[in-house]
Structures are given as C-alpha cells and as structure tokens.
C-alpha cells in the first residue's frame, strides 16, 4: 500500500497526543503526576497540538477537504467515520477536565473525576477506531488481524509515556516508577513488533491468483499481459512494493531507534541527576519518533493488497 505522508504523520502524532492526554488525566485523577500548573498546561497544550495537527494533516490527502464534515455522518457502518466522531467527542470530557485541573481544581471534584475517567476512555476508543480503519480491511492480510489494534494502542501509550517523562524532567521532578513503567511498555512494544513481523513473514492472504481468477482448476495462474502498458491508479495506490533488502534495513531502524535506543537512554538516565536525565529523556523521545515514523511507513509499504493478484503478484 502507498505510504501517504499525511496519514503517517496523522496516525503517529495523534497517537502520541492521545497517549499523553490520557496519561495526564489519569495521572491527575490518581494523584501520581505532580499537580504543577505549568507542567499540566504545557502537557495539555502539547497533546492538543499533536492531536489537532494530526487530524488536520489527515484531511490533506483528501480530494475534497472542504467536505470533510460529511465523514462524521456514517458512524453506523464506517470505522473512519467513527474515528472522526470519537476524535471530536474526545475534546469535550478531556477539555473540561483540563480546564478543571488548570483553573478550577477545587470545584466539583467528584464529578470532574468521572469526567476525567470518561476522557481517558474516549482517548483509548479514538485510537482503537483509528486502528480499526485498517484492521477492518479484509483484502489486506497485513492489516486485517488483531496485532494491528493492539499495536496502535501500545505505541500510543508508549509515545505518551516518553513525552510525559520529558515533561516531568523539564520540571525537575523525575519519577523513577514512571521511567520503569516506560521501560516495561517499551519492552512489550518491542516484543509485539517482532511477533507481528514473524506473523507477516510466515503467512499470506487466503486469496491467490487462482482464487482471484477462478482458473485454479486448470493449473497455475500467471499474468500474461497487463491491461495497460502504463501503471494505473490501482497499481500506484495498492501495488506499492518495497524491496526486501530495504524492508530489512528499515525494520532494523525501527527496532533500534524506536525501542532499543530509548530503553538504553532511560536505563542510563536512572543514574543521572536531573539535568542529565532531561537531556537523555529528550534524546529518547527524538529517537523513538524516528523509529515510530519508520514503523508506520513500513506498516503501509509492507502491506499487500489482493488487487496485486490481478497484476502479477504471486501472493497477497
């Protein structure tokens, strides 16, 4: 599948934004994150910039961005529509809670606690909806499985945790327990990515050139002549292929930059003073950003669509 830059930015940025937003609210409701005004203010600002920036960027690849509001109407059947509706709904409880925490912390604490929990749930559901846009597409074997929603949720949590660590370090209040939790999530995400690639390399679509043409009973089916001499929309959009050697290198970059380097940097930061920790944690999030964008690019580039079977692919 063709990896569109706007969609890669949208899914990674909004994932990190929802991760951080959910953690800030959950941290405040549970009283684990220090209640510092500017820490919370910058934290919420960063979350909303990432989320809104991602959502806006996702409209850039549309043929008619001015009609994007129509995408909110078909939530009964479409995961893309559900994603849009949830993204907008999530602004309500999370926004109310952010205002409450920043400006009116003493008002209606009981109810606002519930609003905060609702906000956290909405963040999770929104990221799940984003993942389901891909996981619901049966013709794409690499996407139509349970690894995909698990991965989107895990990577959103991971990038949120990395961001929260940096924020805390900037205010000189590193939390060892938070760093340990981040290490744990990084470890799980690393294992998930490897398991996903094992699955991808050892399995293929149930559809074959034989089932695509129905000619299997006569023998092995191979494309003899393509319909046109030049590439068409279907081949450019769905037939995007990446060479195996490049994919191996990019997988390595994903693992090293996305998981291994952040794990090492956080481990080292445990032995440093506040300033050193801040620098190391900032390096960790920058490295993870490179890793996650590469991961998302590969998520598209490595996915094969059944339409390829009509254009000479031996499997999908």
């Amino acid at each position: 599948m063709h990896p569109a830059k706007s969609v890669i930015f949208f899914t990674t940025a909004s994932g990190a934004g929802y991760g951080l937003l959910a953690l800030l609210i959950a941290g405040n409701v549970l009283g684990v994150v220090p209640a510092h005004f500017w820490l919370a203010f910058i934290g919420y600002a960063v979350s909303y910039v990432l989320i809104t920036g991602g959502l806006l960027s996702s409209t850039f690849h549309l043929g008619h961005p001015e009609r994007a509001w129509r995408a909110l109407t078909q939530w009964r059947s479409s995961w893309l529509s559900r994603e849009g509706v949830m993204a907008i709904l999530t602004f309500i409880p999370t926004g109310l809670y952010a205002l409450h925490q920043l400006f009116f912390p003493d008002m209606m604490q009981g109810i606002m606690g519930l609003v905060g929990i609702l906000g956290v749930i909405f963040c999770i559901v929104t990221v799940y909806c984003t993942a389901m846009i891909y996981a619901s597409l049966k013709p794409i074997h690499a996407w139509s499985n349970n690894y995909v929603p698990a991965g989107y949720l895990l990577l959103a949590l991971m990038s949120g945790l990395l961001l929260l660590n940096v924020l805390l370090a900037l205010w000189g209040t590193t939390e060892t327990s938070l760093q340990l939790a981040t290490l744990l999530v990084l470890g799980i995400a690393f294992a998930w990515k490897i398991t996903y690639w094992r699955f991808l390399d050892s399995s293929k679509s149930i559809s074959t050139p034989e089932s695509a043409t129905g000619l299997g009973e006569f023998g092995a089916v191979k494309l003899f002549e393509a319909p046109h001499t030049e590439a068409n929309y279907l081949m450019k959009e769905m037939g995007f292929k990446i060479a195996r050697k490049h994919s191996a290198k990019l997988r390595l970059i994903t693992l090293l930059a996305g998981f291994v380097a952040p794990i090492l940097l956080i481990l080292i930061s445990l032995f440093f003073g506040t300033v050193g920790t801040g620098v190391l944690l900032t390096l960790a999030i920058l490295s993870a950003a490179i890793g996650l964008v590469t991961e998302r690019w590969l998520f598209f580039a490595e996915a094969r669509h059944t339409v390829g079977l009509y254009y000479g692919a031996s499997h999908a």
């Binding site: 008619h64 129509r70 995408a71 279907l234």
Partner: protein, 247 residues
C-alpha cells in the same frame, strides 16, 4: 447512507462473462470509456493522454492470464474485470460520508460524486480493484453498470444494456437479473457452472464468470487430420505416391 440495504434487493442486475468466448480485444473497455465519459460519472479523466506516462480512469480492464498445466498443456485466458456489484459490498460500508451506496431496487453500487471526499478508503476495501480515483475531480469513480443506459427510454429496447455488453463482438458478455433464477443469465450460469471471484473474501459478488471449456487438444498428439495418410484408408493416388516415395 452507507449501510447496505436492509432487505436484499429484489433485482440483482449484473454481468455474466464467458471466459471461453472472450478473445481479449478490449472493445468492451473502449466502449465503456466512450459511453461513461459522457454518462453518470463523466468525465473519465485522462492525465497526460498523449505523453510518455499516460494514466486515466477506466471502469473495465482486460487482463490476460497464462494457465500452466503439465498434463493438459498451457492456455491463455483473457479476463475482463469491472465492478462486480457485490451483495455484501465492503466499499459501501467503509464509506465515511454516505457517498457510496447500493441501490435497493436493483443492487447497483454507485458513488454520489457531490458527497465523496476522495479519501480512497473504498478502493482499499474492494478486493477486486474495481474502484478508480479521478485525480482531477478529486472523487472516486466506478462502473455504474451503465445505469444511464439500461433504463434510458430514449434508446431502443435492445440498446438498453451496458455499453460493454452491446459492443462485445464475440458475445462473451451477458447482462440480466441474477436474482431471478428463471432469467436467461441465471440459467446460463447454472448450465455452465458460473462462479464467483475470490469467494473467500465474502463479498458475494453479483457478476459471474463462466470457465473456459475443456480443450479438445491435450497432449494426446496431433489431431487425426494431421496424421500421415499412408494407411489403407488413404486414396489410391496417395497410396501410390507413398509407395513411390518409400521405394
């Protein structure tokens, strides 16, 4: 509304494509382009049509496949493919705007170009690659089953079939109601064991394909007409020539 019709359409209009007859001449694709570039989803934009890298919107494309079999020998099958107007059309249910819909009256799958935002998700959801993005118009387009032709009262009765069907010089394409077991197309499908493409994708396509008939020539050697004629069944002159030459 991008939910599928709650009650299955009364009629299931679709195509039956006979792979035994198709000669791969591409006339159906050309006439499809010709009709539809002035029809419901007009225009079928071409980008750089006379340049080095032309690309454009086509609703019908003809692939040619080679089927290899050591026992029966290889064969070439010409394979036209357009929208299959599926009963469980995933391209319809993924549409976030309601632009994509399946008609309740006859099952035809269409796009409302005024509501389409051009997100391309429907083209990802279709396992067959039946959807075509028009970069110039910024909307998705697809085979309309010539909805503006088959119901057109200004055309003579016999012309009210999709453009690909009316133009096929070999008669490889049939059009009709596949929901009615007594229709000509349904009878044809039953008689020739018509089948669905990629049934495992569970889209329940309406269009059916008829398999090529078994070949007369396998690997049993040349046909009798081409065998040497020196036996007793040959004529007098042939036998005499044979004798003369064998000497």
């Amino acid at each position: 509304m991008t939910s599928l019709p709650t009650t299955p359409p009364k009629k299931k209009l679709g195509l039956v494509i006979d792979l035994d007859i198709c000669v791969g001449c591409h006339a159906c694709a050309v006439n499809c382009k010709e009709w539809n570039t002035g029809g419901h989803s007009a225009p079928l934009t071409d980008i750089d049509p006379y340049g080095a890298d032309p690309t454009g919107v086509w609703f019908n494309r003809i692939h040619s496949f080679e089927v290899e079999n050591e026992e029966t020998g290889g064969r070439t099958v010409h394979f036209p493919k357009s929208c299959l107007h599926c009963e469980d059309a995933p391209c319809v249910t993924v549409c976030p705007t309601g632009a994509s819909y399946k008609r309740e009256e006859d099952g035809i799958v269409l796009v409302n170009a005024d509501h389409c935002i051009g997100c391309k998700l429907c083209s990802w959801a279709c396992p067959y690659g039946a959807r075509e993005y028009d970069e110039d118009a910024g909307v998705m387009k697809k085979c309309t089953l010539c909805v503006d032709k088959i119901y057109n009262p200004n055309l003579p009765e016999e012309s009210r079939v999709p453009a690909c069907v009316s133009t096929c010089p070999a008669g490889a394409r049939s059009f009709g109601d596949l929901g009615d077991p007594d229709s000509d197309v349904s009878k044809l499908v039953a008689k020739r064991s018509g089948y669905d493409l990629m049934p495992e994708q569970e889209c329940k396509p309406t269009n059916k394909y008829l398999p090529p008939r078994p070949k007369k020539l396998g690997n049993d050697g040349p046909p009798p007409e081409l065998a040497p004629v020196a036996d007793s069944s040959a004529g007098v002159i042939a036998r005499w020539v044979d004798k003369f030459l064998s000497a």
